[in-house]
Symmetry: C2
Subunit: 211 residues, 2 copies
């Protein structure tokens, strides 16, 4: 559609800027409440002494998530879409005057909580990362396939809740790889820290490749 | 926009049909995995000897949910949107030749798992019902306000998980009522059955009013 083509042009401009500056940009997506902000907080706390990190927060309304990120001390800009259920390239480019890209290694974009539409829009990121939390159930790859297809990494979050929910990690892995054999899959508890190290090691490799 | 106006006309036609036949139609929405299908299964098992129930299932792809509902013995039709993140009036009307509306009291429509777009589309329902599950967190009313505003009932689901998650029911209630003072709020565990009776009593009143 024309919307996606127009968006693609802006996204490519965004990406060119990130490439010139050697900044890795990642686009984090999930259903509402799967743990995106919690993961970003954990990632910043561990990596902020090694890398210069900034965050763009995307929500329909409120500054709740940006406030949490601001408390970590890194630069953060909150986008309120006012109704749109996903971020697009133009919204991202509108925040650029609020950042110093010469002092940045990693730009984390937290998309609007939605397991459908964000996967259709390139915002200029190097790659997409998605979270799936165990309380949501293990049938999501087959029911919401696009995001699993478009992402480079899947973090299965809230594994501390496994004893209390019906969720087969095995089923999620198998069905996700049926959709996208190249998907890197991590099992984590963003809140308690379990498994987060493996995610951080993977992310550091990507940041260093881009620098 | 033209899309919403065109949809509104079809939705009104749908509603006129339901009204003529004395059928209560409800549109159930939530984020992915909040427990819509589980709630519908519980509702059918308890009410199917008292009322004639049918279900329309909406998903991007798969028949997973319709298969679960078929096991209860009531008529069910699965809509696969092929990508659209919400159901609309036209999709619903396309299923009508597969039902006998003269032998129906309650039509339950399960929308696509998405806390944003489904709230914008009327499909001909008498009212919207939404679920919010406690693992998603207690900040959702302020971050995704439209669905709380458009719904007549909010079911706070998976309360059996409260001991293991950070979630204040009090905060959800207060902030939901700030957005929509008329919202009927139920605290339930769709899986274990806790609190479901109050929801069923409320629903039975609505079905009897429409008959
Ligand atoms: N038990 C458990 N809870 C978690 C974990 N990670 C996040 N949470 C909780 O899940 C809820 C939502 O977490 P967020 O990080 O706000 O989720 P989000 O994906 O950013 O939510 P939105 O931005 O609204 O889409 C909060 O109550 C968190 O405390 C985890 O690993 N385990
Ligand atoms: N602990 C607990 N789990 C529940 C409850 N209700 C549903 N679940 C679980 O939550 C997961 C998702 O439930 P579903 O009923 O499929 O959710 P849904 O909203 O229909 O999901 P989608 O149709 O994919 O959007 C499943 O693993 C259910 O067993 C509950 O009250 N408590
Ligand atoms: Mg968040
Ligand atoms: Mg379902």
């Amino acid at each position: 559609t024309n919307i996606l083509q127009a968006n693609e042009r802006i996204a490519e401009q965004n990406k060119r800027l990130f490439d010139e500056k050697g900044i890795l940009a990642i686009n984090i997506m999930s259903a509402p409440g799967a743990g995106k902000t919690t993961l970003i907080e954990q990632t910043i706390r561990t990596l902020k002494n090694e890398y210069r990190i900034a965050v763009i927060e995307g929500d329909i309304q409120s500054t709740h998530d940006a406030d949490k990120i601001a408390a970590t001390g890194v630069p953060v800009v909150q986008i309120n879409t006012g109704g749109a259920c996903h971020l697009d390239g133009n919204m991202i480019s509108q925040t650029f005057d609020q950042f110093n890209f010469d002092a940045m290694d990693l730009l984390i974009i937290e998309n609007v909580g939605n397991l459908v539409c964000p996967a259709e829009f390139n915002v200029g990121e190097d790659f997409k990362v998605m979270l799936l939390s165990v309380p949501e159930g293990d049938d999501k790859p087959m029911k919401y396939p696009l995001m699993f297809y478009e992402s480079s990494a899947l973090l299965i979050n809230k594994i501390d809740l496994l004893p209390y929910v019906d969720c087969s990690i095995e089923k999620i892995r198998t069905e996700s790889w049926q959709i996208n054999p190249d998907l890197a899959i991590f099992e984590i508890s963003a809140k308690q820290g379990e498994g987060v190290d493996a995610w951080l090691d993977w992310l550091k490799i990507k940041i260093n490749e881009k620098a």
